[in-house]
Amino acid sequence: MKDMAYHKPASLAEALELKQSLGEGAIFLAGGTDVMVQARQRKIAPQALISLRGIAELRGARLEGDTLLLGAGTTLSQILADPLIALHLPVLTDAARVMGSTQMRNVATVGGNVMSAAPSGDTLCPLLCLEAVCHLASAEGLRLVPMQEMFLGPRRTAAQPGEVLTHLAIPLPAAGGHASAGAFLKLSRRAALDLALINLAAQLWLNADGGRIEKARVAAGVVGPTPLRLPEAEEALTGAPPTAATLERATQSLGGTCSIRDSHRCAAWYREEMLRVLLMRAGALALQRLGVSLEVEA
């Protein structure tokens, strides 16, 4: 890797100032598991790196009323160890558990995963389902961008060059006494150290007597240029009883939103088949977490 300047600011204000003075040639580094690989492979050639690892305010999760404020610099290992996240957001824990390897999870951050904006990024589908809001800080102030508006294309986000993702504000699904649970599943050739061939998250809310799905959020990755919410599946689930037949109907609704393609990693027809299977399984797992057990064949 060529020589470059390296800055490790201790505060967000200092990081933003550095970026302003260094300009385009400087890039932010959160955990570095993506930036360092790209720099070593000469896919990027930054003149300076601004490490965000020294900024304490970007780490950890805390509750603010009915919102969980997750620091963008929280590592995947910290997410796995966090009891608040395990309790309220198992869909996110599911994703953190199957990313990379122990060594990667010890370094890689959730904010880095969002800003890398890979179509396969495993935390992205859960964050879409949870309707997280990105807090983007810059010299001009704070800008809030809903996760659904964050991804513009492969490795392209709505963040401006001078902006740092500081937090993900996640409304607690169970706020106001709602019964809600989610699940995330990933299909990959190897269990560890592999990108998803396809991944999917579902978050379901039941009505007061548990007889109907009141609200559903479904998102999938590697089904288009960015991770996508699947509104057709959400519509098929909403208002329906929490049964295997409902999940089956939702799988039949899929297709319109996605633009699934062949790639050297996986054929399109297989992704299409497995998208249905993952929806069936993730839906069943989310319902199981709500105390509804289903006989699901898929």
Partner: protein, 156 residues
Amino acid sequence: MKRAIEFRLNGQAVHVEARGGQTLLELLRQELGLNGVKEGCGAGECGACTVIVDGQALTSCIFPALEVEGASVTTIEGLAAPDGTLHPVQEAFVRNGAVQCGFCTPGQILSAKALLDLNPHPSEEQIRTALEGNLCRCTGYQQIIEAVKAAAEDQP
């Protein structure tokens, strides 16, 4: 850009100059002469370059050298006692035939040590998770898992 940094390496304070574009792997091998840490894939995907930084295993081939300022770093060279007595995890690897060509072994042992330091009595699943980032093309993994189990059983 070079900067003088200070950190603890295998229990000893070291002062060294590191560059902005340098990985921890390069610093350890090229500047500090610690050749036990191996470069395999160079992209964080094989685990041969695993070291322990502040108690956590990580892949040094994609970790910026300057990030270890003030940290405590353990490499395979820091495990055996000064008189050559092997660390219990190393001893267990020898006894269980967990070493063949040896290239992945330092990384395997450091991943295992990081696990056992945090969790002295892990389940087999926890062992497999801790080692999932370390590839081995010789042993078929079973002896490595057995070695870590044996090391755990020998702990107080």
